[in-house]
Symmetry: C2
Subunit: 210 residues, 2 copies
């Protein structure tokens, strides 16, 4: 029995399902900053996150990108999920933010379990619910917040998912994820530092208040 599976999902899935997952799933360990899914990929199995953090990106036709949200322990990728079912291409890119451990579940099992296990149905629907809410929160950020507020929110989100109030990123990397320019990020970070909200250092930023 895969230990992380039992630890993380014993209150989510009934025992029979846990055993089935244990039998058919493939365990994978992936290093940080690794591209798991690219836009346009066809997906043949569904990832179940055991540990670590995954970043989900959206990209426009010019190659400009934007961070949509983070996936954490216990999450699954709803997009992948619906790609499996609908046999459509991925609309997002998934990149590991930290080292991750995950289970890959074959599509046909997924559908079988939808009919068989109540806890699986609940899990799948909850995943969609959570993902929809997260994308809508992203809409809120872009539509209603100014760039300095978005930047601070980004830093806090990152600190939360990595359980670390030091963010190890260059200003350029942050600029890519927020879809703005390095100069703008530097300018606003300096402003946040002057307001006493963060401390700036080369290659890392410390959140003063969480």
């Amino acid at each position: 029995m895969i230990q992380e599976l039992k630890d993380n999902y014993k209150d989510v899935f009934e025992e029979g399902l846990i055993n089935e997952i244990n039998q058919v799933a493939t365990f994978k360990e992936i290093p940080e900053n690794f591209k798991i899914i690219e836009i346009g990929d066809y997906i043949k199995s569904m990832p179940l996150l055991l540990s670590g953090v995954i970043k989900i990106f959206r990209e426009d036709t010019n190659g400009d990108e934007l961070l949509l949200y983070f996936l954490e322990n216990g999450d699954t990728c709803a997009m992948t999920l619906s790609c499996c079912i609908g046999q459509s291409k991925s609309e997002i890119r998934a990149v590991t933010e930290t080292q991750v451990k995950l289970l890959m579940i074959p599509v046909q099992k997924m559908e079988e379990w939808m009919a068989k296990y109540n806890s699986w149905r609940t899990f799948v629907l909850n995943s969609y619910h959570n993902r929809l809410n997260e994308v809508m929160e992203t809409v809120d950020s872009i539509a209603f917040l100014k760039m300095d507020e978005r930047l601070l929110k980004y830093l806090k989100d990152k600190a939360r998912v990595t359980h670390n109030n030091s963010i190890h990123n260059t200003h350029q990397e942050i600029a890519y994820e927020l879809h703005t320019s390095r100069v703008v990020v530097s300018r606003l970070l300096k402003k946040l530092e002057n307001m006493g909200k963060i401390e700036l250092n080369r290659n890392h930023i410390r959140l003063v208040e969480l």
Copy 2:
């Protein structure tokens, strides 16, 4: 038998399910510009759209609002759906854009059918899939497009769902839906008119090219 149910869903649901829906669903006819769901509402039944168009809005803490997407014939409200299951509050507002006809389905039936009917599971998952894609398209618009491009896209979307290349709105109403100001909308509409893309008249706008 409700005629629109058979017409719209005979290729989507198996016959037994159509009959069950026909028995337990409540038929409703709602006039245009009517608020169906408010943010914070608890939802006790799920709407199935038979005809007409519904607008879905997001709102921030200051009361500023933003149009997320339109629902058309054959759609259901995925948000409502997940509110039913998770027993959580609505995160969105739903307003009729035109007169609509819809069926209200009790939550408990919804869950029962998830176990019983394959076609129902497919429908629910497809709904989530479509809604996620639409919210992500909204993210694209806000993140990657300039206001004049967003405005033109808005007009085209509205023309598409209402099957009418005349948009009957004041500039102020458009400004609310795009979360900008009336003056900005007027300015950019005039620019689009000068480019030959639209024709401006009092209280309505005609799309020259679709």
